[in-house]
Amino acid sequence: MEATTLIARPSLLRRIFSTDHRTIARQYFFLSLFAVVVGVCLSLLMRFHLVWPREKVAWFEAIWSVRAEGGIMTEELYLSLMTLHGTIMVFFVLTLAPLNAFANLVLPEQLGGKEMAFPRMNMLSFWITVASFLTLLSACVFDEGGPIAGWTAYPPLSAVGAVSGPGEGLGQTLWFVSIGIFCIASLLSAMNIISTVIECRRPGMSLMQMPLTSWNWFVTSILSVLSFPVLLAAGLLILLDRLAGTSFFVPGDLLIAEQHSPHAGGSPLLWQHLFWFFGHPEVYIAILPGMGIVSHIISNFSRRAPFSYRACVWAPVAIAFLGMLVWGHHMFISGISPYSAMTFSLITMSIGAPSAVLVLNWLGTAYQAVKLEFTTAMLFCMGFVSLFVTGGLTGLFLGQPEIDAYFHDTAFVVAHFHMIMGMAALFAVFAATFYWFPLMFGRMLDERLGKLHFYLTFIGAYALFLPMHFAGFAGNPRRYADFTNFDFFQAGMPLQRWITVTAFAMGAVQLIFIGNLFRSIFSGAKAGANPWNGPTLEWNADAEIADRGPYEYPDAGADAN
């Protein structure tokens, strides 16, 4: 960022289309905040419909005159909300907030620099992301409504056009365009982060002197560069299937809704391979930055270097590497060979080892703390550890092909990934927000409101998602717009009502955070230069780094490992 813009007040245009990494960080933050509010509202609408499917709500019709005629939510509306919920949460919340928002905010200074490697490209990647988001929303406002094929968009359902269902025409096409645009933005942003880590470190700082957050953003970006192009290519191919009459993913001789399909020779499983080759690394793209954030913040508030800095570096690297090799565990029941299923299973289970290393390090750091300080950020990190353990352990069920055969596509899977990818990853985002808020807005978030929000959210996370596993034990399939057609659902309806009521309570609790956020932006206590007494360079721009681990406190006498 040129120094002149700080002196002369920049024009409005320059402030909107800014190349300043902190401005872009705030832009990413607010985009993902808006996205998460929309995503949560969608989930509440879905939960409402699942337990009160015939309930008339007047304002449903005001928003969706066709798909909620008479105020009753139709099943196509439910499925389109579900598709939008998954897409928004995975791409625009869990990818943008932990990686793009916070890496932009602190990465340059953590490395002893001042700016990202490519400031203009940084601006470009944000605005391309905005274009992607607007395209996604536009997919849902045209007459026929949003697509209903879920965020995984399996063909042939997603590839043959309007004939396969409502929203599968223009809506599904725009959905693929949106995701393609998102891939481009993520690629640019990931290349920027990688370049920054490699090129923009202060002279003398070795890779093994980088804070763990920088390490995790670095590794996450490498995952992005390896996986997003595959999704982009797959998306382009499926758009060709939809628009140009090719047949990459559609086999021949299909009869869809009484119409003979002109396609021939494609493979639906090819899409699943390509999609999950992206999709599984994507879940690590969502959680790896959180691991870095948690390692970093626990170390700060334990006033000591991590239990083992090297283990905290190499465990995420191992997770990322193994994470590239396990996409097949999403396809155990897809008709792949049992031999490949066994291979994918063994690699999947082995991810437990580096995960256990991380948990040990988080617990070990806190256990050997010089002084434990339970700030809100630290509390969210402790919550992350608890949820990460719980969500990780249920993965040991799903990683076994024969156990997965029953749980696949049931509420158990939904509970599993909401626990780890939803709750744990968002806890890391909350922790990061409280911790780096001073760098974002020069003020502090209110700690009392923060702790209240933490405790209620933590209780809510378990109250909501632990019981959901039981719906999976009972074999309830996911992605059902209505539970009334099957007898076996009926015994579980009290449980479903509990989940819905808890979800609404959880939604209400988040208003505490939103209120705290906006109040503190305008009238929070002014933050000092280093309010948490943090050891890393984003708080101490002038600190010496030679011969010093990133988490060493020269004054406290703690030594790095």
């Binding site: 399996y154 083992s308 437990g352 069920f397 703690a558």
Partner: protein, 252 residues
């Protein structure tokens, strides 16, 4: 402090939920399903123990009052990390070794072969009839309204005696091989009591071998999002005594 107490309460709540579950698995009707339940229980014991241990450890770290330490011991970090990795691998080997593994399945001989046809949004099942041979099918012959939902070729005499039903009847105590077909999008054949499911991919014919021991009626659901009527793809699996099944087939 409060977080520690919440963690303790969470552990207690999780144990109570397992002891008094609001809903649970349905009955297991095959020996494979019984083996499934055994492996599930084993996995639950192993992961449940790790869950309780980790949450209690975290609670203890949060609750305990400790003296201020000026210089923490750190030399053991790498060794302890390696130990954690090895221990976790051991746990996973214990899990996998206890299971049957995906390769233990052997193809049954002389199985009763039944074809499963899924489409948006219904199920059909075809039996080869008295001649024991399935007639040729083709998408071009499909006529749902005219009673030919699987598209049996009328010019093929072997298909004349084929039985097509909307309900799946199978004999108890015999090997049954289901051949799964889809004419449009991906569906999934899921019967909870079998403890398994199998995607039905258009363009592929995927076999699913079952051997049900328990007579009764069980719901068949579609478990792969297949479009608007996904939740309406309901059918019934009827497991009948062998002789009754033979009689039923003869009557058609």
């Amino acid at each position: 402090m409060l977080l520690g107490l919440i963690l303790l309460a969470t552990v207690v709540a999780a144990c109570l939920l397992i002891l008094h579950p609001p809903v649970w698995f349905p009955v297991a009707i095959t020996s494979a399903a019984v083996a499934y339940d055994r492996q599930f229980s084993w996995t639950l014991w192993v992961t449940g123990s790790l869950f309780i241990a980790a949450q209690l450890l975290l609670a203890w770290i949060v609750i305990r009052r400790r003296k201020s330490v000026t210089r923490p011991a750190t030399s053991s970090g790498v060794r302890a990390s390696l130990f954690a990795a090895v221990a976790m691998i051991a746990v996973e080997i214990a899990l996998a070794a206890h299971g049957n593994g995906p390769l233990s399945h052997s193809e049954p001989k002389d199985a009763e072969t039944i074809e499963v046809y899924a489409h948006q949004f219904a199920w059909n099942f075809r039996y080869p009839g008295a001649d024991g041979v399935f007639g040729r099918v083709g998408t071009e012959f499909i006529a749902d309204a005219a009673g030919n939902p699987v598209g049996i070729d009328p010019s093929d005499s072997r298909g004349n005696d084929d039985i097509v039903t909307p309900v799946l009847r199978i004999p108890a105590g015999r090997d049954v091989r289901l051949l799964l077909h889809s004419r449009d999008v991906i569906h999934d054949f899921f019967v909870r009591e079998l403890r398994t499911k199998q995607d039905i991919v258009p363009g592929m014919v995927i076999p699913l071998d079952i051997h049900a021991d328990r007579i009764g009626q069980y719901e068949i659901a579609c478990a792969e999002l297949c479009g608007l009527g996904h939740n309406q793809m309901h059918s019934i699996l009827v497991v009948m005594p062998g002789e009754e099944y033979d009689r039923w087939k003869l009557q058609h």
